[in-house]
Structures are given as C-alpha cells and as structure tokens.
C-alpha cells in the first residue's frame, strides 16, 4: 500500500498512543507511575490472599495469620476488610498529587 511520504513523516513525528511504549515526557512519566500504583494495588490485594494460601495449615485456610489478633480483629479480617480500603484511598491520593504536579510542570513548559 502506497503511503504519502509527508503524511507518514507527520504521523511518525507525532508518535502513537501505546500503554507499553509511552511517548517520552508527560505520557511516559504518567505511565511509569501508573505501573507502580498498579503493582501496589495488585500485590497488596492478591498477594495477601496468596500468602494466606501459602501459610495455611488446612483446606479452610487457618494459619498464624488468621489466629493473630490485630486491633481487635483476626489479622486477615483486619487486612482485607479494613486496611485494603485505606490502601486504595491512599493510592488514589498519591495518584492525584502526582498528576497535579506533573500537569502543572508540563503546562508551564507550553
């Protein structure tokens, strides 16, 4: 398929939107931070359940984690029922602070 050279050049210079190959500058910094937050979100949520499985002493999943008390709760109840919601709120807070800062930075450059 023949492609107009000027059009191709224009397209190339403008780059593309790809989460796995973000463009330098604003997009790349943002995606980098998104990866960090995604990892934090996934590791704490699913990682903890994995640890519960890893340490369990029977099919029901009892272990030292489930018999330990923390702030009055069995630890796994506190972690999944109380802490994780706080963790999510914190992740949202950090993202907003970061994007506010990044947006201000890049708007000044224009």
């Amino acid at each position: 398929m023949t492609q107009d050279p000027s059009s191709q050049g224009q397209s190339s210079s403008q780059g593309r939107v790809n989460f796995f190959r973000p463009l330098p500058g604003f997009m790349r910094k943002k995606v980098h931070y998104i990866w960090i937050l995604l990892a934090s979100w996934a590791v704490f949520t699913f990682g903890f359940q994995f640890i519960l499985v890893l340490l369990q002493e029977g099919p029901a999943g009892c272990s030292q984690l489930t018999t330990t008390r923390f702030l009055g709760f069995p630890f796994h109840y506190w972690f999944s029922g109380q802490f994780l919601i706080l963790w999510f709120i914190l992740l949202c807070l950090l993202y907003n602070l970061f994007v506010d800062k990044l947006t201000n930075e890049y708007r000044k450059r224009k």
């Binding site: 059009s7 397209s11 403008q14 780059g15 593309r16 939107v17 790809n18 989460f19 463009l23 604003f26 997009m27 998104i34 937050l37 995604l38 979100w41 949520t45 699913f46 359940q49 994995f50 519960l52 499985v53 369990q56 099919p59 029901a60 999943g61 009892c62 489930t66 018999t67 008390r69 702030l71 009055g72 709760f73 069995p74 796994h76 109840y77 506190w78 999944s80 029922g81 109380q82 994780l84 919601i85 706080l86 999510f88 709120i89 992740l91 949202c92 807070l93 993202y95 907003n96 994007v99 506010d100 990044l102 947006t103 930075e105 890049y106 708007r107």
Partner: protein
C-alpha cells in the same frame, strides 16, 4: 416465611422521606428551571465524591454485602475489595482520559472512538443488559424490604414496591425534581450507621466506632467455633475469591453508569479528586456492612440458635434489618435501616432504567430503526422502554437466581468482560480498531453468558469461569482477541489516532 404484619412506623417513615426527597429535588432546581446533570454552581471534588458514593449505593451495598458476609464470612471481602479496588483502576487507567474524550455516554464514546454504528449498538445493548441484571438485584431488595415493612409475601411486595418506585420516578420526572445526590448520600449513610451504633451498644461492643468494635464480636464467634468460623476458605476456594474480586474490580471500571459520572464533571482535576473522595464515602459504608452481619451471627450464637441453611439464605439479604430487630431496637429505628435500603435501591433503579431506556431510544432506535425520529418521538420511545425494562426486570426478580450481591456481581462480570477491555484499549492503544472492538465485545458476551446458561451441564466450565468471577480469564482473553483482530485488520483513521494523542493524553 418472612411475612409478619404491617409495621406502621417504618411505612410512614418511607412515604415521608420519599416526599421529602421530591421536595428537596424541587428545591434543587435552578431558578430558571434549567436542567443540569450537575448543579450549576461548582460543588468541589468532595461534593462530587459524595455524588459518586450516592450513585454507587444500592441494594447491593446496603443489603447485599451484609447478606453475603452473613453466609460466607471472609469470602464476602472479595465483594468489598472488588467494589472499592475497582475505583483505583478507574482513576489511574480511565477516569481522566474518558473525561477528556468529551462524550456523555458509553455508547457515544464507543462510536466516537471506533467510528462504528455496529460497535455503538453493541455497546448500547450491553449497557442495557447490565442495567437489567443490576436492576434484578435492586428489585429483590425492594421486594424483601417491602415484605418486612408491610407484612406481605414476596411477590405481592415486589409488585407493590415496583408500583411505588415507578410512581416515584414518574412523579419526580413530571415535577422536574432533581436528585440532590449529596443530600441523598448524607441521608443514606446516617440511616445506615446510626442503627449500627445502637446495635453495637446493645450487644456490648465498642459502639462509638462500631466498624472497629465488631472485631471483638468476630473473636467471640471464633471462640464459639474454635476459630473455624473466621477461616478464610470455608465458603469458597482462593481461586474463586481472587476471580470474584478481580471481576468486580474491572467491572467497576467498566460500568456505564459509573463512567458516566466523569462525563459531567466541570473540570478534570475535580474529576480525579472526586474519585478519591467517593472512595472515602463508599468505604464508610463497606466498613460498616460486615459489622451488621457479624452482630447478627453472634446474636444467634449467644442465644443458641442454629439456623438451617435454607432459612439462613432466606434472611441473608435482610440481615441488616434482622440484626437491628434481634438486638431489640425499637421498630422505628429498625425501620431507618430498612428505609436506607429502599432509598438506595430506588435511586439505583431509576438511574439504571433511565440509562437503559436512553441507550435504547438514542443508540438503537434513533441510530438503527428510525434515524429521522424527532426528539419528541425519541422521548416517547424512552418512556415506553423504561416501562418495558421495568416489567422485564420484574419477571426475573419474581424468582431471583441468587443473593443480591451475587446477582449484582453478574452485571459486573458482564461489564468487566465487555466494556472494560474496549474502553481500556480504546484509551491506551491507538491501534485498536472497530473490528477488534466488535470482536472483543462479542467474545465478552459469550464468556459471560455461557457459564450462566450452560453451567449446570458443564461443571468444569463454571470451575474455570464462575458466573460471578468470569472476568479473571474473560477480560485478558477479550483484550488479547481485540488486539489480535485489530492487528489483522486496517488501522483506525489517522484523525482518531491524532485526537487520542493530542487531546486525550496531553496535560
């Protein structure tokens, strides 16, 4: 049998508060009588956050979480974490970008991004299906609570409740009453937490913050059952927990009426911060719901009651009311939490029916059936569709296929398997094209409904793709297929790719 007798105080309270909401709604209109999706003046990100939480609260939040927790203990946290963790995904992957795209509904976004009427109609159909499934859960909540208040059997209560909600919808619409969502949230959260405080106090636990006090109640339950009562995998495997949690997360990020919150926010920064505040307000509810279930369970244990599984399942979805009732609270205070459930269900039903009707009237009827329809004709079609959808939901809700939380989870599985991948790729990969989007949505429908419909005959399939947790495999699969089909077919027009780069992804 849930039916007992008419409880006058809760009944009067219900109609009084519905009337109050209409009055407040009328007072919320602007002086010119103009209609804004958001109040004309800026309300700030905290206020928008309360609106998000208000939009989120439903029978699944008020009744369903406690019900599933009462029956399944730790497994229920998959719902809590799924329905809160999804907001992180929504914020960091899609919220700001969706707002920048500048469209007002999910189908409009799909058409603008993919330039395909077929994709638009498909996404509209999916949005309608999601609304229908979600509404079944709400209707069940209404039926159960009306049954408790009015002493009727479930079916008559369902019919009565439906009549009341439709009347409320018509009356609000006719009078032009706006839903003041911050007021709505405030009323709901107070109605939900106040009785909980009193239950905790009656049960002898730390009642100033019952969300913390119920930890001791859990310890007491664990003591009764030699720690087994709080074991994590008593009621489901780790795979099922993770699949369910993940499904609810991506479903949250893909749900049309959640995404629609972003289209109407005045500026992008407020949109982002409102998600965080919305999560705080939603968290307040999700920290509280398990406490109701725990206190109810402990009350049974303390009184030596052994509830048989069938009865437990029957009362699970109104366990918040039972907890208050069993603790010996006055009937009008118990009625307050029942009221919260009805108000949450009503607002969700009206929102979902309007979304579904709008999708049909505008995205299907106008685009596909009658492109020359006038605005008046489209409005008539929307109203007829609202009633038709309401009747369809009624038919299914008459014999609900599961707990409120479970039914709701299926709606999320559908959103997570279809709209989430198409939105995510639509925003973050400019090479995604209409063929890919259409293939992805069709596959998402297949992945969602085959375990639902053929589950009894294919037990191995429901093991891999549980009806409430199919997106753990479904969403990645849809993403891969969408990418594959997009790469095998021509790229999208350059102007769309340029728009993505220059408008959606710049500061």
């Amino acid at each position: 049998m849930l039916a007992e007798h008419l409880k006058l105080a809760p009944a009067l309270l219900l109609f009084a508060v519905l009337a109050l909401f209409i009055i407040v709604g009328l007072a919320s209109r602007t002086a010119k009588g103009e209609y804004y999706l958001v109040s004309g003046r800026s309300v700030g990100s905290v206020g928008i956050g309360a609106a998000i939480a208000s939009n989120w609260m439903s029978a699944a939040s008020i009744l369903g979480i406690a019900g599933i927790f009462y029956l399944q203990g730790y497994f229920a946290f998959a719902y809590v974490i799924g329905w809160t963790g999804g907001y992180v995904l929504l914020l960091i992957l899609m919220g700001g970008q969706i707002r920048r795209f500048g469209k007002y509904t999910a189908p409009e976004f799909v058409e603008a991004r993919y330039e395909s009427p077929i994709a638009r109609v498909l996404s509209a159909s999916i949005a309608i299906l999601i609304s229908l499934v979600y509404c079944v859960a709400q209707y069940k909540g209404v039926g159960l609570v009306f049954s408790w208040i009015f002493g009727l059997d479930y079916i008559p209560s369902l019919l009565f409740g439906t009549a009341v909600v439709i009347s409320y919808l018509v009356l609000s619409g006719t009078l032009g009453a706006l839903r003041n969502q911050r007021f709505h949230y405030t009323v709901l959260i107070l109605c939900f937490i106040l009785p909980l405080v009193l239950v905790a106090r009656k049960m002898g636990f730390f009642w100033l913050v019952p969300q913390v006090g119920y930890g001791e109640a859990l310890q007491e339950i664990a003591f009764h059952a030699d720690n087994a009562g709080t074991a994590p995998w008593l009621h489901g495997t780790p795979y099922q927990w993770i699949a369910l949690c993940f499904t609810l997360m991506v479903g949250t990020a893909g749900l049309p009426h959640v995404l629609s919150r972003f289209y109407t926010v005045p500026n992008i920064r407020d949109a982002r911060w409102s998600v965080m505040w919305g999560l705080v307000f939603i968290g307040l509810l999700y920290w509280s719901a398990p406490a109701y279930a725990t206190f109810a369970k402990l009350w049974e244990l303390r009184h030596g009651l052994v509830t048989d599984p069938a009865t437990a399942k029957a009362i699970a979805d109104i366990i918040v009311i039972k907890a208050a009732e069993w603790a010996g609270l006055p009937v009008w205070i118990t009625g307050i939490v029942a009221l919260a459930a009805i108000l949450a269900a009503f607002s969700t039903i009206t929102g979902l029916l309007i979304t579904g009707a709008g999708a049909f009237s505008y995205d299907i009827y106008y685009q596909l059936i009658n492109p020359r329809a006038t605005e008046r004709q489209r409005m008539i079609v929307a109203k007829i569709t609202t009633l038709v959808l309401a009747m369809l939901v009624l038919i299914v809700a008459a014999n609900p296929p599961g707990l409120i939380a479970e039914i709701t989870a299926v709606a999320f599985a559908l959103a997570g398997n279809t709209l989430f991948p198409i939105f995510l790729l639509g925003i973050w990969w400019d090479r995604t094209n209409k063929q890919g989007a259409i293939a992805g949505m069709l596959l998402g429908l297949v992945v969602t409904f085959i375990p639902l419909l053929l589950g009894p005959w294919l037990p191995w399939l429901t093991a891999i793709l549980p009806p409430t947790g199919s997106a753990l495999i479904g969403a990645p699969l849809v993403i891969l297929v969408t990418i594959g089909v997009s790469l095998l077919t021509p790229p999208p027009p350059d102007r769309i790719r340029r728009f993505l780069l220059e408008k959606v992804h710049t500061p």
